[in-house]
């Protein structure tokens, strides 16, 4: 879908309500993916309660937010997960949730297949177990495939296979597409960001310049059948716009609500610098969305900075804010993966170790030869019924 430029300008100035938003329901996760954008692992004791989560859904309904992308952590770990999904769809808020597949049993798949208002996204970062498990952990490929088998057997058509593009899986794009075809699913490709634990592995995992160009050409050829969450707009600098808005929607048409109710500009920007407010404050989410200083600034005119003189600036608009921030680059400078090569030059001037660290980290500590000192360090399910 290509969208007129005047409409994109409207979006850049922000809407009264997000088109959709990402809602990480919990930081608890049974996996420990090396590139986890939210540094998930342990449940946060301040997590929104069931009633608080329902109040957020009520607000989203009033604001006519069509759907939420629910993630985590592993959202299905929450004992009230299905209750919240049902509550959302009963209140005209569609749900698309991301999962590693560990709880998508045959029974769950049948239930999902029966609902028009729930969509499922299975995370998979390699078309082979070897490539996937190196990032997502041993057994995670088999778990995801099992979930897909269950969904396909239940007749759930068009679920999403969600792939973060890495240096290691970029040669597998056609295999991912074939995998999606095999399960009557749709492929979704997104960009690796140096967010959360992703910052620690970005140098090793982010695609090379040559791979980026190959990806761009692959997306031009296959873009109509593949979803991207608008995540590769920095590649528009190569020349042709890719399908989608080609716009950073952070704080303008999208945002993130994290498990404790903090509202950030986007899912890749869990840092105080991008914190707009909390849904628990007076006025709730609507007031944060409409009145936060941060969001007002993002909706105002943006300076192209060092990029303004570049011929590609109108196409890429300087790239991804979060990618710049967590690699230590100025927000009005080039994207670290700038297709004109300006990012590499800028990165060379960043002193190692000075990059901003995520403000929030729920990673399970690596403890060798010692018993975990809290139950929730041992299992994210500890203390969580069901």
């Amino acid at each position: 879908m290509s969208v007129g430029s005047s409409l994109v300008e409207h979006f850049a100035q922000g809407l009264d309500a997000p088109i959709c938003l990402t809602w990480e329901l919990t930081y608890a996760c049974n996996l420990a993916c090396r590139h986890c954008l939210s540094s998930s692992g342990r449940r946060d004791p301040r997590e929104l309660s069931t009633d608080e989560a329902k109040a957020v859904i009520d607000e989203l309904e009033r604001m006519q937010v069509f759907y939420v992308n629910i993630g985590g952590g592993e959202p299905t770990i929450r004992s009230d997960f299905w209750e919240l999904v049902d509550y959302a769809t009963d209140h005209h808020v569609g749900v698309k949730f991301s999962t590693n597949g560990s709880r998508i049993t045959a029974e769950v798949a049948a239930r999902l297949a029966a609902s028009d208002y729930v969509d499922v996204q299975i995370s998979l970062d390699g078309a082979t177990a070897e490539v996937n498990d190196a990032v997502r952990g041993p057994g995670s490929y088999a778990t995801a495939i099992q979930a897909m088998e269950h969904l396909a057997a239940a007749g759930f058509r068009g679920f999403k296979i969600s792939v973060v593009c890495t240096r290691q899986n970029m040669s597998q794009l056609d295999e991912f597409k074939a995998l999606a075809a095999r399960y009557d699913a749709q492929l979704r490709l997104t960009r690796l960001r140096p967010s959360g634990r992703g910052a620690d592995v970005w140098d090793e995992l982010h695609p090379t310049a040559d791979q980026q160009h190959e990806l761009y050409q692959w997306l031009l050829a296959n873009g109509d059948t593949v979803l991207t969450g608008d995540s590769f707009f920095h590649l528009a600098g190569f020349g042709e716009p890719l399908p989608g808005l080609n716009l950073c929607g952070a704080g303008r048409v999208v945002c993130l609500i994290d498990p404790v109710g903090d509202v950030y500009a986007c899912p890749f920007a869990i840092h105080d610098a991008f914190l707009a407010g909390n849904v628990r404050t007076e006025g709730g989410f609507a007031v944060v969305w409409r009145e936060s200083e941060l969001f007002r600034t993002l909706r105002g005119p943006q300076s192209g900075g060092a990029c303004a003189a570049c011929s590609a600036y109108d196409a890429c608009r300087g790239g991804c804010m979060a990618a710049k921030f967590f690699t230590g680059l100025p927000l009005d400078g080039p994207d670290p993966e700038c297709v004109k090569g300006h990012g590499e030059a800028a990165l060379a001037g960043v002193t190692h170790g000075t990059q901003p660290r995520p403000s929030v980290d729920h990673s399970v500590p690596v403890v060798l030869g010692r018993r975990p000192d809290r139950r929730c360090d041992e299992s994210p399910l500890a203390g969580v019924a069901g």
Partner: protein, 97 residues
């Protein structure tokens, strides 16, 4: 493919309504449309087109809906194209006149 309703007449001379699975959110530039079944998002790029869409269900034809929304005769082809896109993406469905 068999079709219950004749397609030989112009789109403008037939009766339409929003698919019941579609939600409409008015915006300053027009409106956002979301189809919960296909999970597709569409944009109405001007308020007058939203006016046409809002009149469809109570109008005998799309042409009547355009008249009620104050669309000039000269602009009809443009609105017909916009409605065609909405039909092709299942945002609108035909109903008995």
């Amino acid at each position: 493919m068999a079709c219950a309703v004749s397609t030989s007449r112009s789109l403008l001379d037939r009766a339409w309504e929003l698919d019941p699975q579609v939600s409409v959110r008015p915006e300053s530039f027009g409106a956002l449309l979301y189809h919960f079944g296909t999970r597709r998002l569409s944009f109405l790029k001007d308020r007058r087109l939203l006016g046409v869409v809002e009149q469809l269900a109570s109008s005998a034809t799309a042409r009547d809906a355009c008249d009620l929304a104050g669309i000039d005769h000269d602009a009809l082809p443009r609105y017909e194209r916009a409605l065609r896109t909405l039909v092709d993406t299942n945002m609108l469905r035909e109903r008995a006149a």
